[in-house]
């Protein structure tokens, strides 16, 4: 299958601190790729380079290339278009303080869609894709902050899907949720794989084994090992990977 992302010789600095060193990675289309590793290892940082959310951090600079469909997203690329094509779901659910409907419609409206009928369709379709339509269809006008944390996170996923992205980045999307909500989100992610390339950061190794096709293990800003998930967890090639997945550190 084709590579959606190609990351070449990527170094990333926050001021004087080097957060990522010599990262080379290919992310396959319509697969789920998981980033695992102890906290502070750079996995979230790499995720944020994929839609340039690192631009928000003062003093952040990178060298190397990040190619999306063969085009370098750091070289004169419309960053808003990039983020439209690469959706993101955050660690803590962050619905906007407005109705559920307006949350989902925020993205499409941002990109110029004004027609009510079209917006209605997009909202319904996105909520259906995020497997939450049945739970909220009767209260679309209610404030999005009034629903449970698990529902909020699925609303955020729906909101990301509403701008028709090709890639979905998820930054520990279940770490703030209870086990039942986590299950629902994991099922949803597996389902979404049909349409989207998904990159997920997780500190939960079971989660990585349950849903991902490939896994990258990070330590101190470097990728130690990258392989098909089944390989990486059953026969890790690096001693450090083995230590981590058997629970000896992190």
């Amino acid at each position: 299958m084709a590579d959606k992302y190609q990351i070449k010789d990527l170094d990333l600095f926050y001021g004087d601190f080097q957060a990522l060193t010599d990262v080379n990675l290919n992310i396959e289309e319509k697969q789920i790729t998981a980033f695992i590793g102890p906290s502070g290892c750079g996995k979230s940082t790499l995720l944020k380079t994929l839609n340039r959310m690192n631009d928000l951090v003062d003093g952040c600079r990178i060298t190397g290339q990040v190619l999306l469909d063969g085009v370098d997203i750091y070289d004169n690329y419309d960053v808003n278009l990039l983020r439209k094509n690469v959706g993101m779901v955050f660690q803590k659910p962050n619905p906007f303080p407005m109705s559920i409907y307006d949350n989902i419609a925020y993205g499409p409206r941002t990109h110029g869609i004004r027609k009510k009928a079209l917006l209605d369709d997009i909202v319904e379709e996105s909520l259906r894709k995020a497997a939450i339509w049945d739970e909220v269809k009767d209260r679309l006008k209610r404030n999005a902050l009034s629903v449970s944390g698990g529902q909020q996170q699925r609303i955020c996923i729906a909101r990301a899907l509403a701008v028709e992205p090709e890639v979905l980045l998820m930054d520990e999307p279940t770490s703030a949720l209870d086990p039942i909500s986590t299950n629902k989100i994991e099922d949803l992610v597996l389902d979404l794989k049909k349409y989207y390339t998904i990159v997920i950061v997780t500190h939960n190794m079971q989660q990585a084994t349950r849903i991902s096709d490939a896994t990258a293990f990070f330590l101190l800003g470097k990728i130690i090992e990258f392989d098909a998930t089944s390989n990486l967890f059953s026969m890790p090639k690096d001693k450090r990977t083995e230590d981590y997945i058997t629970g000896r550190f992190g």
């Binding site: 808003n80 990039l82 983020r83 959706g87 962050n94 619905p95 941002t110």
Partner: protein, 287 residues
């Protein structure tokens, strides 16, 4: 040990007594202004006082209609809001979300300074600079609603900027990141998400700005022209309730004096209404 306990209890009572100072002051202020207004209000009639269009305290018979001054206060305040709120709000947005840190270190103390400059200095500046400017550009005497509005608009800027900036900063960063991750530009995220989320704080800043403008005295006296008649255009001179008190209290006696104190009472009522609006906004924000 026992002595200590008695002293502790005693000082507790002392602190409690000092704590009543605000309550006592407000009551004292209200009582004195109300009591001294009543005779005049009774003689003139409250309705006649508030709706009367002629203020001629030295005529015989004298007439005491506060309407020109009430309208005057409302006009210059409205003008100040029209000028100060857009400018102040956009500046607050800049301070909260666009300003490079180095520039901020320079701008923030500058705006604090703007808040600290005495109103008499603003008034003087208005008198020697804005009045001639308006006279030259637009004609008339230069002492006008417009001049007072411009000056007051400048004077309420720090109030609007300070409170609105704080309100915009208080909006969680996660909203902003969420908007950007959907492909919104920085400007779009700020205007469609952060501003609506900060709106109660922004309204509160506007109410405080109105309070400041309507209560301002010395600066207005010096530039507004102070004619006690209902104005017909923005280049007309105008007198506010505050100016009326300052100008005439020096020589007023009897009924005239009472009428001036009663204007103070009307002003006080305006401010109380604004205060109530302000605290209602604040409690809603807390809920």
């Amino acid at each position: 040990m026992k002595k200590q306990k008695i002293l502790d209890r005693l000082m507790g009572i002392v602190f409690r007594i000092t704590a009543t100072i605000s309550i006592a002051s407000v009551i004292l202020i209200l009582v004195f202004i109300v009591i001294n207004s009543i005779p005049a209000l009774r003689e003139i009639g409250i309705f006649q006082f508030i709706t009367g269009k002629t203020w001629a305290p030295t005529d015989t018979p004298a007439s005491f209609g506060l309407l020109p001054m009430i309208l005057g206060s409302i006009y210059v305040t409205a003008g100040a809001i029209l000028i100060g709120v857009p400018l102040g709000l956009f500046t607050a947005i800049f301070m909260a979300r666009f300003c490079p840190p180095k520039l901020y270190k320079f701008l923030k103390p500058l705006i604090d300074l703007l808040a600290g400059i005495p109103s008499i200095v603003y008034g003087f500046f208005g008198l020697v600079f804005i009045v001639p400017l308006v006279r030259t550009v637009l004609g008339g005497t230069g002492n006008s609603i417009l001049t007072a509005s411009i000056l007051l608009g400048i004077m309420i800027l720090p109030t609007i900027i300070g409170l609105s900036e704080a309100a915009i900063r208080a909006v969680p960063q996660s909203y902003y990141e969420g908007a950007l991750s959907l492909g919104a530009t920085h400007e779009r995220a700020v205007f469609t998400l952060l501003l609506p989320a900060a709106k109660s704080g922004i309204f509160a800043s506007v109410i405080l700005g109105i309070g400041r403008a309507i209560g301002e005295t010395m600066a207005v006296v010096m530039v507004a022209g102070n004619q006690a008649r209902v104005p017909t255009g923005i280049l007309n001179g105008v007198r506010t309730m505050t100016s009326s008190i300052v100008i005439e209290m020096g020589y007023a006696a009897d009924l005239h004096r009472g009428a001036l104190i009663a204007s103070g009472l009307v002003l006080f009522v305006f401010i109380l209404i604004l205060n109530i609006a302000f605290s209602l906004l604040n409690t809603r924000k807390g809920a």
